[in-house]
């Protein structure tokens, strides 16, 4: 099971955080701090895996953004890397050539996409098509509602 997923920039700025298990606020801050220093401090050509307490950390850099997740010890690291990759693919499909800015300004969308993909720390749906369909479905509704709401009421 995944315990958390963090997105942060090269400068260590947090861009997205999702906690799948209840973690006290202080601990969260500590984890974010530890993760950024550990991951940013990795030398090139090191492996994408780390240990942190009894968790396994898997991270990957996409352009200027680091995707980093904490897993149970018995999880498969390579698979987790692909989970991160699939999430990036989904973001890419949604935003069209996604960049860090898309995530900064539309982070709530990034959360919505994540919620369709992962639920409670487990992969909920792996089919890209099904996923984008369900994301679009709720988005379509959002658009029409927005249009509807912006109509002047007489």
């Amino acid at each position: 099971m995944m315990h958390f997923l963090l997105l942060f920039s090269r400068q260590g700025k947090l861009r997205l955080q999702k906690w799948f298990t209840p973690v006290p606020e202080r601990e969260k801050k500590k984890i974010v701090r530890d993760m950024t220093t550990m991951v940013l401090g990795r030398k090139p050509r090191s492996c994408n895996f780390l240990h942190w307490k009894d968790l396994k950390i898997v991270y990957k850099k996409y352009a200027s953004l680091y995707f980093c997740c904490g897993l149970d010890a018995e999880e498969n690291e390579l698979l987790a890397l692909e989970v991160l990759h699939r999430y990036v693919e989904l973001l890419d499909k949604y935003f069209g050539n996604v960049c860090e800015l898309d995530i900064i300004f539309n982070f709530e969308k990034a959360y919505f996409i994540l919620d369709e993909f992962l639920l409670g720390g487990e992969v909920q749906e792996t089919s890209k098509q099904v996923l984008s369909r369900s994301i679009e479905a709720s988005d379509m509704l959002q658009e029409t509602m927005e249009e509807y709401m912006s109509k002047p009421a007489f």
Binding site: L14, P22, C47, L79, R86, N97, D115, Q142
Partner: protein, 1162 residues
Amino acid sequence: MSDVVEKTLSALPSLLSLDSQAGPGKLSSSSKLGNLIKGITELTSKHEEEKLIKKELASLKEQVASPNTTMRQMKEIMVRAIYCEMLGYQASFSYIHAIKLAQQGSVLEKRVGYLAVSLFLKETDEFLLLLVNTVLKDLQSTNLIEVCMALTVVSQMFPKDMIPAILPVVEEKLTHPKEIIRRKAVLALYKFYLIAPNQVQHIHSKFRKALCDKDPGVMTASLHIYLQLIKESPESYKDLTGSMVTILRQVVGGKLPLDFNYHSVPAPWLQIQLLRILAYLGKEDQGTSEVMYDVLEESLRRAEMNHNITYAILYECVKTIYTVHPKSQLLEKAAECIGNFVLSPKINLKYLGLKALTYVVQQDANLALPHQITIIECLDHSDVIIKRETLELLFRITNAQNVTVIVEKMLEFLRLTSDDYSTIDLVGKVAELAEKYAPDNVWFIQTMNSVFSLGGDVMQPDIPNNFLRLLAEGVDSVEDRQLRLFAVDSYVSLLQGETAKLPQRFLQVISWVLGEYSYLREEDSDPGSVMRLLARLLDQRHTSTETRSWVLGAMTKLCSSPVSVALARDVCERYSGSLNTVLRQRAQELMILSQDTKLRASVLPAEGRLESLEVDSSLSFLDGYVSEALAAGAAPYKSPHQRQEELVQEKALSLEPYGLSLPVSLSSCSITDRLTDRQSPTLLSMSSGLSGNSTELSHKEGSTALKLDGVKRVWGKDGYLAQQQSAGETPIPQVELPSPLLSPQSPPSQTQKPSSGPEPDQEKRQLASSLFVGLGSHNSVCLMGRAEPAPRHFRRKPRGESSSGASEGSSDSSHSSRSAAVDNLLLSNLLDTTTVASEGGAATTTLQQTSQRTLDHTTSNGSPHVEGTEQRVEAGGPLSLIRGNGMVAVVPPTHTRTDPQTQPDLHPAPALERPRDLPLTSHLPAELSGLARSELTTLCSDHDPSLALSACRVYKEDALVLLVFISNNTDSTLHQMALQLTCKELEISCISGSPLKEVKGHSVSVCLHTVVMKRASVQVELAGLLSYQRPLGQPQAAQFSLSLSLKHFLRPLTVSTGDYGKMWLSFSHDLKQNLRLVTTEHQEPLTATLDALKGKLHLHIVDVIGSEGIVACRLLQGQGQGQPCLLHCRVHADSLAVWLRSPVPELPDSLLYHCQKALTET
């Protein structure tokens, strides 16, 4: 992959300057959020950012509080609040508004509301209770999107106590026509299962339906639940093996729709999940494993593409192959596959290859041999993670010959690492290896010194404890004396140097050893030298109070010579005035004992201090003192728990309703802490020395003595060996299997180099030869050598149950069991060779010597075959208790009266409607015939038509009696009858004395068992097995299962209103819930509802006053009268507000579920 993202943050300023023109409305930088983000990026210092956010938060706070803010604006505000929280600033004022937004907003605002809730709140937040009704409403909405949102939030977090409120609605969604809803519902149930397994026990059948869902997504989701279930009890799900294999075969064969492909690999996530499930199912089960060999092979074969995802599948596949019952052909292929990982230039794959090797060498240490060079390279890798993983691998292949090299590598790593977590782990491993394989005394003591200095104060406390125990154990042979003397010498020289850098734990170990064994060196040195060193240590500033008390303890043992006594007096004077009571006490002891040599000699004899200590854990020697004190008017002792409860009662008014259990559990917590903390031999020896001094017994003394309760089990003469033996051994069946990969022609060490590998330099070759010595074809020869240098006292005793560190304990035990596995492997090899080797005689003697030395240990190590069977017998033990004497022969019925009138209404007598029952019920023993009983249920009728099994429950006051009727419908007699009932949640014992071995033709036998619950759960499954033999036939067995519900174990609890009040206050676990009211024509709704509950659940209505009613019941649990549960019911609007309280945490939950069910059925 980095080509996915092109634009980077460096583009931000230019983009922002374009303002709203950037992108087709994609970047909403013109919005308020945009402005905020823009504002922050323009700032240069953290301080400015803080100021800006503070301002932003203040304005947000003002806006949310304003009544004019529309939901639409609120949505926008929430997004900004989420952003501020992400930056690390609390926006707690917005939490309640997030809930409000989810409650009242239109669909798209609701979505943001739910998102904010899931980001802001935690499962434990009380705010979450406010969300329950919203979720319930949305779950029942006709709008799919709303249902999805509600299910999503439920799967992320939901208050545990509120699960019953929404469970029925979520269950209903499992049959929803839309697959997305079904999928999310399954995941919500998975979440419920994780946080409150007993709440969803009864819907396991629905999980099966989800597994068979026509949509692959729903089926995949259900596998999450099955993985958990199967992990917990693989036995109950063996029947699913076939289905899992079929699914995997279809997936691997590409039968799923194409959009489940990931980089043209069919549904990798699903494949991996299935492989994991198969691993659990096939573990130590040959029959089940055989079913899956084909598909495992196919998975290996199909995963050939060079992509990360195929490697992920391969890795999982290898793990599964090495977990299930082995098949040589498959193992060979898997080993080959590991080679691909290890030799890969990609570092991630190398890492996984090392991990896979670490996993498989536990079964066959030789698998590491072909990869020697790679391992050596990884050991010096620039990436610490790779290094660490390599050490883990080496730890698994350590033996007596390579131990020094491997331990040196580990210590090297330890000196460089600053991470506490890996320090703790690695230090434990070094200590384990040192104890197990140390080649000589000097090395052992030096290694342990490094362990103590590097492990410092973070290491597990059982490392020093085990070390001291090891020193103290054993007879005073020359060898033991040498070890002790060496330790003493080494510590004296350490103390003569700089002590400031030594960790406190190490100083404590030093003081204890010096106190115990300094006498060994006394011939050649002046008697006061050690004493002076200790006194110096005592006065140093960095020495902690705890260490000081150890030092004083050591001094007490040492003050025999006049010089020492003078020194001791000096020390006493300074410390008898200390503010710390422990130090003061120790100083007092030192004072008294140093002056009275006779007393000292009797309480602290120089020899045999730890031989055997009889600890009187009941403190009976104090009885006289206590009765005297009581006679003099002292208050009787009350346990802290009792005191706390009284306190709660006294303050009942002010503490209600926040009283709960917190203070009670806190206090009990600290007690257990203290109990586990103190197990150091020093305290033991000291307090044992002092126990004669009972007149001085203070509260402190008393608690020390109490603590010894835990220690006794480890140290007591009789309990020790037997208990530890059974705890420490895990039979590894794989050990006995042929290891096809053991290549007999591969020579180990120097001569061996993989021809394909890179040419290693001389240094590496040497390292390789020293690391991999002892593995390989002639390992049996090496092992012979190994048995000799490992002296008895370096052998680690399996840890006792009482050793501290509960959290670490589990991982520790797994290590030791793993190492035991290696041990077993090696030693079984040894055994094999001794029988065939030409020098067989000599080898056997060695073995015998070893077995004499290690007594308990070697017998289990040396003969895994025997041990395995013992284990099986042991496992069968509790069952065989039931077997055999669980039956009563019942003479064919002459007359047994079952009076329908005496049977309570809740179980209407089935006799009249079901004529088939009549003959069977007439077999009821006379003493049970008057009691209420259930209908007869037929068990496994399809198995064998000539044998019918039925069961019936009789509700006795103090237990549930379960009757199993065995009717033999043939002419022949059934022999060797044995009935076993098993259920881990229940306590089952048979009533009848004389065992029944046979059932004559056309007669019926009844087996009676009393059943009570171990812990409250909604429903439990009882598994039964009846074995029998027909004349001239094979032994046969019939399996059946029977489900028992909590309500079968409920009995009315008759108490007065006053007693009810007292009990109410003292119970700590409670639960509140609104229930449906039952309405009838001629009764008040309250009485009607209570009567319905009483009728269905055996509750006792204590009192009804106005619109309130109090009800009590007890659950048959454990021995005695069982556990009470009180219900307080109040009519509130159209529902019944029920408040349940009980001393047992699970009971209110489960009972509430049954109340709900009972009322919905009415």
